[in-house]
Structures are given as C-alpha cells and as structure tokens.
Symmetry: C2
Subunit: 217 residues, 2 copies
DNA sequence: GTCACTAATGGACGATCGTCCATTAAATGT
DNA sequence: ACATTTAATGGACGATCGTCCATTAGTGAC
C-alpha cells in the first residue's frame, strides 16, 4: 500500500482509493472532453465515455443523473479551466500599465495553453450545439463578464480624458474580443498556417489604430 | 390538370409533378437545414427530416445514399447560397471605389439576408462538427477563396503606392474577416442586444485605423 | 471481525437510430 | 393500350442509443 495514496484530498477521501466519487466525476468529465476533441460531440456516446474513463456504464447516471447533465458539467468545467488559466496568465502587478494588461489578455488567449487543437475543437463543438442546448449555452459565451470588464476598465484608463468619443471604449473592448474570436476560428480552420505572433500583431494593429499614442507597432 | 404544372424544368421533368427527383432532393436539403436551425444537429434524425419534408424514409438513402451524404450536401447548399447572396449584394458597378467595395462586403455579411437566426445557428452547428466530419469541413470555412481575393484586391488598391508595409494588405483582409466572424458569434450569443449598424461602424473604425485617409468615421 | 453505508459494477431494457429492400405508382416509350 | 422505367413508399431489420437497477465490493465506525 503506497503512502502517497493515503494522502487525503479536500473531501476527506483517500487519493487513489478505489472509491473516490470526486475523482470519478473528474474522470468522466475529462473523458467526455477528450472524446469531444477526438471524435466530436455527435459521436460521443455514453459507451464511448465509459470506455475512455475506464469506469462502468452506471457511473454517469449515478454521478450526473444522465448524459445531458454530464455534458453540461463538462462545458462548465472547460469554461472554468479557461478562465482560471487566463487569470493566471494575466496576473501582472497592480502597477502594470493598462496597455500591458490588454496585451496580456490577448497574448494569453492566443497562447498554446489556451489555444490548442483540443480546446479549439471542444470550444466550437459546444458552441455549435449551444443554441439548442440551454444548459451548455451558459458556458459557451466569450462575453464572460469578468474578462469583458477587465478589458473595458483597461481601455477606459487608456482613453482617459482627452477622448470624447463615447463609443471608443466599448468598440475597443468588443473589437478586441471579436478579433480574438476570429483568430480562434482561423486556428480551427487551418492550424498549420496559423501564426500566434502574427495574430497578436494584427490585433495590436487594430488597437494602434484606436489609440495611436498608446500602442505601437 | 393545371397548365402551369406542365412547364418543364431544367432536367425535363414536369414541375409540380408527383415525381421530381431534383425537387425531392431540394426538399430534403431544406428540411435538414430547417431542422438543424430549429433543434440542432444532434437531434436532427432521418425520421425528423422525413417528417419535415413530407417525404418517406427511403428517400434519403435513394437520393443521397445515406444521412451523412445528405448532411454534406446540405452544408454545400448552405455555403453556395451564402456566396450567391453575397455576390448579388456586392455587385457594384465596375467603377466603384475599393472603399465602397469593401464596405459592401461588410454590410452584406451583416445584412439580415445573410445574418439571421437561421443562418447563424446552421453555420455554427456545421462548424462545430466540421473538425470531426471532413465532408462538412470543406464548406465551413470563411476563407472562401473568392471572397478573400475580393477583399485583398480592394485593399491592395487602397494601399496602392505610398504604403510600404508588406503586411498591411494581408492584415486588413484577415482582420476584416476575423471581425465579421466575431460579429456572427456576437449575434448568435445575444440576438436581442445585437446592432447591425454598430457592428458595421466598429469594423469601419478598424479600417479607419489602417487607412485613415480612405475610411472615415 | 462485524455492521452500515455507499461508490461502483455491468447487464437488462425499451426506444430510437440509420440502412435497406420488396413493393407501389407515376411518367414515358412504343 | 400495354410495357418499361424509375421515383417514391413504408415497414422490417440489426445495431446502438441512454437509462436504470439489482448486485458487488470497498470503506469507516464500532
């Protein structure tokens, strides 16, 4: 019996135990996301998920009450993971300039940690079924309030006083997010020809047009 | 027997006849697209398609050889219809300025004819399954060569001589398409809060930043 | 060691999936 | 009018879907 396996996790269960409901849940969610990335949502069946997770068929109904809820939980987990990673990569010091904070968001969103084959396929798969699946729709929006506010606040600081255009801040925020969205689509469509650096530069160029004195090419 | 029903169509069949293979094909494709827009790809079964089209179950296998081929044909039809409509709306006189031609593409892409609830749902549904469905992937790319070239040519004319930045034209093209892509996502996510005019203005602002003397706010 | 608890198992179940084909019926050719 | 051709029908079919539950087995308390 290995010592490491006796370490208790948050819920008080033994890690590596043969009975760990939380670990099983995570295993099912991970298997679901992997399957979606590999073979698509349409082909992701409960049999397929069970096979990938190494767990038995009954587990989905036991832990999630059905496949649909598992799918929703997977979408939620995926979304949470994205924003957790985004937070980690944009946690600059509190004295960072708003320009740097904006660029940090852009570079994080286009980094390999967030933008990779697996995440892109999962992201677009969820979005594709979101409009007919209310539970998933809640987690398939880029308009995550926190991220939007981060950008809007930074742009407001950048625009500051001498700008009197009321739509400038909103346009900068919406435009940046829209461009990032488009970059993800480009990546999904043509991973070989995609360049992270050129994508960052393209968005920088957009910002350079809005705030010529703040962003430089 | 009505006279109008005797008019022959391109294939020599009688229009409105009880036996018109082409009409049946179109009916199946339309029913498929409608179903995808209404209830999503996942729920779009052959029974559902047959019910909507009013045709019998055997028709799909007869005309398309299977559900998968019908789905591909539907994606192709949808794509063709998009570009046909786009062509129609951007057919300015040959003396139109490149700026006008660019704006025509943008306004067409964001017009109600192209950007509406049905088309957005279908578009994103197809894109969501494209990465695991090679047949559909061919028709789920915005990077339609013709549209890309239209934009690139116009931007090249705009940039003309005094611009020496080698990436300017490419960035303008890619940026415009990426922004349009983002606008479609915004529309899908929040149809109520979406404004076509504001979206056009946002993209115009992007172009104004790249070509300050050519595009005006 | 025994008990109570519950995570986990895996097969049974009816429903529904997509495919296929024997049959029907409408249009055309002679 | 009859024969030929083929679009169209609709149910049969096996496979697979997701759900559910009787059972097994791991775990902590006593």
């Amino acid at each position: 019996m290995e010592l490491l396996n006796k370490v208790e996790n948050v819920r008080g269960r033994k890690r590596g135990s043969k009975r760990d409901p939380d670990a099983s849940k995570q295993l099912l969610i991970k298997a679901t996301l992997d399957s979606i990335a590999d073979i698509g949502v349409t082909e992701t069946t409960v049999s397929c998920i069970c096979e990938r997770s190494g767990l038995s068929r009954g587990m989905i109904h036991l832990h999630f009450g059905g496949k649909d809820n598992l799918l929703t939980a997977a979408a939620q987990h995926f979304s949470a993971q994205y924003y957790s990673e985004m937070d980690k990569m944009t946690d600059l010091g509190s004295d960072a300039s708003p320009e740097d904070r904006v660029m940090a968001v852009i570079e994080a969103d286009l980094s390999e940690a967030l933008l990779n084959p697996r995440s892109t396929k999962i992201w677009h798969a969820f979005r594709g079924i979101a409009s007919s699946h209310p539970g998933i729709a809640r987690y398939s929006s880029t308009q995550d309030q926190k991220l939007v506010e981060t950008l809007r606040l930074a742009f407001k600081e950048i625009a500051q006083k001498n700008e009197r255009d009321p739509n400038l801040v909103d346009d900068a925020t919406a435009g940046t997010l829209a461009l990032l969205e488009g970059m993800w689509v480009n990546y999904l469509t043509d991973m070989q020809g995609f360049s992270r650096r050129r994508s960052v530069d393209l968005i920088r160029r957009f910002l350079c047009g809005l705030f010529p004195e703040k962003f430089k090419l």
